[in-house]
Symmetry: C2
Subunit: 239 residues, 2 copies
């Protein structure tokens, strides 16, 4: 289990309206500074209410990548909550107030997240490691017994395999993985679990085996890709 | 946050297929004894797989009450996993291998849950307090900023108000509440939050105000009530 430090407020939230996205709220209960990871436009009202209930000030609205399945809440949160800064990786090619790269640190109150560049699902995917809570927010890179698809937006199965094995599977086995999605009602996993049980990336699978698995998926074209990606590359602005 | 003790495996699971039920898996990692709270028939395969992945032996499949919105997985789990015992309260009037009442203790490995009799949503509702993890499984009694309906199955707004104020709001403010459902993508709350923010039961609401709120809800008749309740009173057996 993630063992969160005192004064760290944490909440996992689920988009039950369509995208099955997990949004994460973290806040410092002392300074009241908060961040959201992967907020969803359709859930912005819920998230804004939750922030208000605790008197939190949203400092950063972070996207792990330019999403293809939902519109980010960054633009709407910025319009409603003055001072919020959006965050995305430089390598995503997307607009944001703050661009991050591997090794950068995102601070809120007395806490911090470490940026891990983990391309593969998209070329700009970033995971966020929260050492004080023994957990990592894995976006669409590593899922529970699965992973993000690699067949569009600069995706690369080779890169995803390397990202997971270099930056995630090297974390401790007890590190909790909070994914960007789950489609089976699972909420979290651990690095140790995925090394042992992930049928694509764990269980001793080689890079060649992984590439073959991904090639064989034959996934349908994402319904919202043509709508969501251009908007999300503009920081969630629907112009 | 719930701070789970070492060797306690915990997983919150969501039924995304229709009922929005939360199922909870708790296990002792040493003895491998596990329990499930409110397993859902449609998710039995997922839950059985998860138990198998960790080598857990399911000791108890517990229902917080006779559900009206989904069929319990107790019967199917009992047929697939020998030795499982189903649990429900005596006051539910339902079949089960083990009947519990207020103050009873459910043991798995070196851990235990305490049964709290909390009628109101139904006459047989039971919450389960897990002191070692500073959390309570609140079934359909207390929801996040809400509560279960009180207009059928022996439901009583007066009883629900008394149950919450006598047995839940008297727990510590930091006690995490894991509800039986949420319909907005929220996953958990705390006793302190609900005392402060629950618009029906907290915020200084009197019993009379609560009764009036519940009377005014005019909820639709539950789609599955006539199917699910008779089956769940027979321990999930579809005969």
């Amino acid at each position: 289990m993630a063992q969160f430090p005192p004064k760290l407020f944490f909440r996992q939230l689920f988009d039950h309206l369509g995208s099955s996205t997990y949004t994460y709220l973290l806040a410092d209960e002392d300074s009241k500074e908060a961040i959201l990871i992967d907020p969803v436009k359709d859930q912005a009202e819920r998230d804004e209410k939750l922030l208000g209930e605790f008197g939190f000030t949203l400092k950063y609205a972070i996207n792990t990548h330019a999403h293809a399945d939902h519109i980010s809440a960054t633009a709407i949160l910025k319009s409603k909550l003055p001072g919020v800064k959006s965050v995305i990786s430089t390598s995503s090619g997307g607009d944001a107030d703050v661009h991050v790269k591997h090794g950068d640190v995102i601070r809120f109150g007395s806490f911090q997240l470490e940026c891990l560049s983990t391309p593969g699902h998209t070329s700009g995917c970033t995971c966020f490691y929260f050492g004080a809570g023994n957990c990592v927010f894995s976006g669409d890179v590593l899922f529970i017994r699965g992973c993000g698809r690699t067949d569009f937006q600069g995706g690369s199965s080779e890169d995803l395999y390397d990202s997971v094995h270099t930056h995630l599977f090297t974390l401790g086995d007890t590190t909790v993985v909070y994914p960007g999605h789950d489609y089976k009602g699972m909420l979290m996993t651990t690095i140790g679990e995925e090394k042992r049980l992930n049928p694509r990336l764990g269980m001793g699978k080689t890079k060649e085996e992984f590439v073959a698995i991904m090639k064989g998926l034959n996934l349908p074209y994402p319904k919202l890709l043509d709508v969501a990606v251009p908007v999300n590359l503009k920081d969630g602005r629907e112009e």
